[in-house]
């Protein structure tokens, strides 16, 4: 939510830009996000890394079940514990691990499907675009094991020539207890 709050002023200015321009950017952004998702589902991790900015913050805080009065405690904060709190260096390690052939939770490799939906540009500042979306990651393993994770995603895209780079990905999961053996897949 906080993000939504924070970005509201920004968004207003973005809303003022002409429809055609906004529609065009929406197309470019969706195209990028879909292509990025397809690389992960195709297990083309190296090509995926090529879309990741040097300074990326890839973060999934822990969600807790709390009463309405405690909603400020729903997600852990930066610097507290998290499921993912990665720099590019860590993401590269995750990729190396997936390539090792001995990452048993992904050997044989899972079958993943990254659904990116409800894509919304919430802020544009210079060459940086903040995008919110709903995600659903479906993972099927071995004969019949299936996991799914859904949630809200806040990405920061940065223009880099003809394409974008992913400079921030914050993942707000809709689960508290993770109902899966692990989270060995890249979200």
């Amino acid at each position: 939510m906080t993000t939504l709050e924070r970005t509201r002023p920004r968004r207003r200015t973005w809303e003022e830009t002409p429809l055609a321009e906004r529609a065009g950017l929406q197309f470019e952004v969706e195209r990028f996000l879909y292509a990025e998702a397809a690389l992960l589902d195709a297990r083309r991790y190296r090509d995926w890394l090529a879309l990741i900015a040097e300074d990326i913050h890839y973060w999934m805080p822990i969600r807790r079940t709390v009463s309405t009065s405690d909603l400020d405690l729903e997600f852990t904060k930066p610097g507290e514990m998290a499921f993912f709190d990665d720099t590019r260096e860590v993401l590269e390690m995750r990729v190396k691990k997936l390539e090792a052939g001995s990452a048993w939770s992904e050997e044989p490799p899972s079958r993943s499907r990254h659904f990116v939906s409800n894509v919304r540009i919430v802020a544009v500042e210079g060459d940086e675009i903040t995008v919110e979306a709903c995600f659903r990651l479906y993972r099927s393993r071995l004969n019949s094991e299936a996991d799914e994770w859904t949630g809200r995603r806040v990405d920061l895209l940065r223009r880099a020539g003809a394409t974008f780079l992913l400079a921030r990905r914050h993942l707000f999961l809709d689960q508290t207890v993770i109902l899966a053996n692990n989270m060995s897949t890249i979200f």
Partner: protein, 453 residues
Amino acid sequence: MADGSHASAWGEAEILSLFDASTGELDRRVLSDEGLYRLELERIFARAWNFMCHDSQLKDPGDWLISWIGEDQVIVVRDDDGRINALLNTCRHRGNAVCRAERGRAKSFVCSYHGWNYGLDGRLIGVPGLKTYYHDDLDRSRLGLARARVESYLGFHFATLAEDAPSLHDYLGEVGRIGLGMLCAHGEVEVVEGIQKNVIGCNWKIAVDNLFDWYHVAYSHNSAQAAGFFDISKILHPKNQMVMLGEFGHAIGGPGIPPERQATIDGLTDDEREAMSRAQGENQPRIRPRRAAELMGPVGVRSEGHPNIFPNLWITLSGVQMCLRLPRGPSKTELWWFTIVPKAAHPALKRKMIWEANHIFGPAGLLEQDDGENWTQATRSARGVAGRKLGQRLSMGLGRDEAAASGNGGSAIEGLISEHGQRWLYRAWTEWMAARDWAQLKANHSRPPTGTV
């Protein structure tokens, strides 16, 4: 769902035969049988001292969180006198859950069904219509939330449902106390915000025995090494292993500091030890200050391994994390990861400790990821008609090592990587499961051995 309302089909002799300590042969049904699982809830979890939380998680009166004793939900709450209470999360009227969130702050607990109101100590302090509908005729003193016994050691709170359980101090014994002492070796601690929780399709015991298992590290976690995340050779110390065995199934397994190195350390001031820690580079456990000796004793202080407080509390990273393994059925376990830092630690050090905890363990941890897959498959194969007859083989180091008294009730085995810890766990398990009550368990449990093991 297990109902467990009728007596188990498992007799004492049959239970004792499920693990043969003389060969290390484990009957696989221990990991898959529904009846044994139900009996575990009665004879292990309802009877043991279960870890609830650390003092720092409940700072003020009214602070509460949910924890578990087996599959029973417990509200752990600090009352107005600052005492920690553990209350079954079920209303005494019709059984509704009194708390549904994971944590919160409350003045009292009001049940959402009919509004019965319970104090922070569980007493029933309010009943709508008490005077009218109940004609003031309700024995409130007998209708408080069911209380579990709560005792603490070094700020770690445990609860048991067994009236006849020994005190927490006696229950822990030397080895359990060393385990908790390890967490406090660097000074008074606090739990970092955020407990990673996930569910794994394995039996809870295979997750527990794995913490003694330094044999699996090289192969199971090979990919973390390949990724350049850690250097196994720097952490494994296969020739300097120390296993400590305590009463009631507590144990510690993993690298031990050789006596000569410890002697050197003993000669240093705390500042010198800090300098030495900084010097030794990545992935090396921080050298403990002098206070550690009081907490861990002369032998325990040399352990850099993994303590387990029986049945299911693992202390890891030489005291930076704890992991609870909560039973959720014969083939399902819920893991809770706690991260502990010294209150007084430098912010930069805290950040470093949190960063490591976040990336080593937990469902996305670069090490932890791979364990669940092996445990799940080991559990699955224990269900097959043929598979479950094969037994498991826990014979590593059997009869090859010497155990010596560690001075205060426990014993220590020094040598190579072995399966002494796992054998001790399953031997204790059979004793817990065969005992009808605490009296019988006290009489019939194995004492930490000395001599050849």
